[in-house]
C-alpha cells in the first residue's frame, strides 16, 4: 500500500498534490486496487468549476463504476487526456502518469487529510 507522505488525501480516496494555488488530483493506490483494472475514466472539461466534495467524474473498472469527487474547490485547468486511450495508467502509476486533473484552487484544501490520517481510514476500510 503506497501512501506518499507529501500528498493530501480526501476521505473518498482522492489525492491532491498542492503547489501554490494549483492542485494535481488523482485517486489513491488503495482506491485503484479496490476497483481493479480500469476500463474507462470519465473526466470533466477544462474550465469546469467544482466545489470540494462535488462529483467531478467517474472511473469504470471491469467490475465496478465509481464516482470521483473534487478534493478541493476550483477550476479545471488541465485534464490527463492520455487516460482516454490508456486508462490502465491509473492502475500502473496512480500518483504519477495516472493523474486525473489539475485544478486552480479557490478553497477547500485545508480540510484534506495528511498521509497518516488517510492511512488510518484505509486500515479501517480494508478490514
Amino acid at each position: 500500500m503506497v501512501i506518499p507522505a507529501e500528498l493530501k488525501y480526501a476521505k473518498t480516496h482522492e489525492w491532491a498534490k498542492i503547489e501554490g494555488d494549483t492542485a494535481i488530483v488523482g485517486i489513491s493506490h488503495f482506491a485503484q486496487e479496490q476497483l481493479g483494472d480500469m476500463t474507462y475514466i470519465e473526466l470533466p472539461e477544462e474550465g469546469d468549476t467544482f466545489e470540494a466534495g462535488e462529483e467531478m467524474g467517474s472511473v469504470e473498472s471491469v467490475k465496478a463504476a465509481s464516482e470521483i469527487y473534487a478534493p478541493v474547490s476550483g477550476e479545471v485547468i488541465a485534464v490527463n487526456e492520455a487516460l482516454e486511450d490508456a486508462p490502465e495508467k491509473v492502475n500502473q502509476d496512480p500518483y504519477g502518469e495516472g493523474w486525473l486533473i489539475k485544478f486552480k484552487i479557490t478553497g477547500g484544501a485545508d480540510d484534506l487529510l495528511d498521509a497518516a490520517a488517510y492511512e488510518k481510514i484505509v486500515a479501517e476500510e480494508a478490514h
Binding site: 476500463t39 474507462y40 470519465e42 467517474s58 465496478a64 463504476a65
Partner: protein, 445 residues
C-alpha cells in the same frame, strides 16, 4: 384447472410463516389510499367460452383488404424461412444472457444483429435493441441530455411521426425538459427552422428520414450545425429504405434510431416490434441497454459477452444510463434472419420496388381531377395527397369495398383533413393501384 399460482391454503401458510395474519397486514406499509380498491377483473371463463369470444372479436377485423396504410408501419413480404427458423424452441428462452459461458448462441446472434444494423446505417455501435421506435427516440434524446450535462432543451421536427412525438412528450413530462417543436412546411422538414432552433442551450435535435409525410431529406448540414453547438443530432429512419438512401452515418448523425418492423416483423396489430439504436463510438458510453462485444478467452478462442456493463443498472444503480435492461431478443433475431436471407442486394431491390410502385401510384392518382400532391419534394414509397373532399370519407367509402386507400393525415395534423398518406410496398401490384385509382376517381366524380 385454475391458472392461479397458489391455493388459499398455501397463501395462509405463507402469511403464517412471515408472521402476519392477512394480506392487508402484509401490505401494511403501503398507505390504504395507494392500494388498488379492486382490479376490476371479470370472472374467469372456460377455454371454450374464451375461444368463442375471441373468434367473434377476430371476425370483426377486416383482414381481407388491399391496404395502402403506412404511417411508420409497413406490410412487407417476410420470407417463409424467417418463421421456420425462428420457431425453433431454443430461441424461446426467457433468460438474460449475463452468463456468457451459458449463452454463447444468444450472444452471438445479438452480436450479428448489431453488425448488420451498423452496416445498414453506417454507424459505429448498436445496442441489442429496445422496445420500439418510439422508446428508441426517447432514449436517444436522453443520451443527448446526459452528454450535454446541463442542457434541458430538445428540438423536435413536426415532421417526426406524431405517434413518437406524443410518446416523447409523455416520457419526458416529469423530467423538467423543454420541448421545442419546429413546424413542418407543407409536409417538408423545415431544416432552416431547425437550425435556427438548435443553439448552445440545446441538448438534442431529432428529425426523421423519410419524414412522416414520406419526404426524403439530407440532414448533413443540420448534423454539422448541431455538432458546432455541441448538441446531439438524432436521425430516426425507415430502416429498409436505408439500403437506397443517404444513411444517418453518411450524414454525420450522432445517434440513429429506427423502428425495425419493416425488417421481418409482421404488422400484427401493432406489435411486438423492436427499436434500433445506433451511435458513434464517441457516444457509446451513453448508449442504453445491452451491448454485445466479441473477445477472446485465455486460450484465444472467440467468445461473445455483454460489454460496457458499467452503464447498466446492476452496476451503476441510480446513475445507470437508462432503466432499459432488456431487449427484444426474439424480434432482433427475426430481423437478423430476415436481413441475412435478403442480403444487401435483396434489401436494395425491395426498397427500389416499393419506390417504383409508389411513384407509379402518385402519377396514377394525381391524374384524377382535383387530386394533387401535398408536398413537392422527393419521396420513397410514401406520399401525401391533397383531395377535394375529406380524406376520412374517402377512407370509409373505399374500405367498405375492400381497398384501404391510405392514412387520413387530419387525425394528427390540424388543417390537413383533406390529406391522405399513401404507402406502397413490394406486396402491391400495379393492378391493385389501378383498381384503387379507379375507385377514387369514381368517388370524386
Amino acid at each position: 384447472m385454475p391458472y392461479v399460482p397458489h391455493t388459499e391454503e398455501e397463501t395462509k401458510q405463507m402469511l403464517k410463516t412471515v408472521g402476519v395474519t392477512s394480506m392487508d397486514e402484509l401490505f401494511a406499509d403501503i398507505p390504504p389510499e395507494l392500494r388498488p380498491k379492486s382490479f376490476d377483473l371479470p370472472k374467469g371463463l372456460s377455454e371454450m367460452e374464451v375461444m368463442a369470444r375471441m373468434e367473434r372479436l377476430a371476425a370483426r377485423n377486416k383482414v381481407d383488404v388491399v391496404s395502402f396504410l403506412g404511417a411508420g408501419f409497413y406490410d412487407h413480404h417476410i420470407p417463409a424461412a424467417v418463421d421456420a427458423l425462428i420457431s425453433r424452441g431454443e430461441f424461446y428462452t426467457a433468460y438474460t444472457p449475463y452468463q456468457p459461458e451459458a449463452s454463447q448462441g444468444t450472444l452471438q446472434a445479438i452480436f450479428e444483429f448489431q453488425t448488420a444494423i451498423c452496416r445498414l446505417l453506417d454507424m459505429d455501435c448498436t445496442n441489442a435493441s429496445v422496445y420500439d421506435g418510439g422508446s428508441a427516440i426517447f432514449e436517444a434524446m436522453m443520451m443527448g441530455v446526459r452528454a450535454s450535462k446541463k442542457r434541458r432543451k430538445l428540438v423536435i421536427s413536426e415532421a417526426l411521426s406524431p405517434i413518437y412525438r406524443i410518446m416523447l412528450s409523455s416520457y419526458t413530462s416529469n423530467l423538467n425538459l423543454e420541448l421545442v417543436t419546429v413546424p413542418h412546411k407543407q409536409g417538408q422538414t423545415d431544416i432552416k427552422g431547425l437550425m435556427d432552433a438548435v443553439d448552445t442551450d440545446t441538448a438534442a435535435v431529432v428529425v426523421q428520414n423519410p419524414n412522416f409525410f414520406g419526404q426524403v431529406n439530407d440532414f448533413t448540414k443540420l448534423c454539422d450545425h448541431a455538432r458546432s453547438v455541441k448538441a446531439t443530432s438524432v436521425v430516426s429512419v425507415y430502416p429498409l429504405m436505408q439500403s437506397v438512401l443517404k444513411t444517418p452515418g453518411e450524414m454525420g448523425a450522432d445517434v440513429a434510431v429506427a423502428e425495425a418492423q419493416s425488417l421481418g416483423q409482421p404488422l400484427s396489430f401493432g406489435g411486438p416490434y423492436l427499436g434500433i439504436m445506433a451511435c458513434t463510438k464517441k457516444m457509446v458510453r451513453q448508449l442504453p441497454g445491452r451491448i454485445v462485444g466479441r473477445t477472446v478467452d485465455s486460450q484465444d478462442r472467440t467468445g461473445y459477452v455483454l460489454t460496457l456493463q458499467a452503464r447498466e443498472q446492476h452496476i451503476r444503480r441510480q446513475k445507470a444510463t437508462s432503466n432499459i435492461c432488456s431487449n427484444q431478443a426474439l424480434c432482433a433475431l427475426r430481423t437478423l434472419v430476415h436481413m441475412s436471407l435478403l442480403g444487401p442486394g435483396g434489401l436494395e431491390q425491395t426498397a427500389a420496388r416499393c419506390m417504383e410502385l409508389a411513384h407509379f401510384a402518385a402519377k396514377r392518382l394525381t391524374a384524377i381531377p382535383g387530386v394533387e400532391m401535398y408536398s413537392e419534394g422527393p419521396f420513397c414509397n410514401e406520399f401525401a395527397l391533397k383531395l377535394p373532399v375529406s380524406a376520412y370519407d374517402v377512407v370509409d367509402a373505399l374500405t367498405e369495398r375492400g381497398y384501404v386507400p391510405g392514412f387520413p393525415l387530419g387525425r394528427y395534423y390540424d388543417g390537413l383533413e383533406n390529406c391522405l398518406l399513401v404507402a406502397c410496398t413490394e406486396k402491391h401490384t400495379r393492378e391493385d393501384i389501378g383498381i384503387m385509382a379507379e375507385m377514387l376517381g369514381g368517388l370524386l366524380k
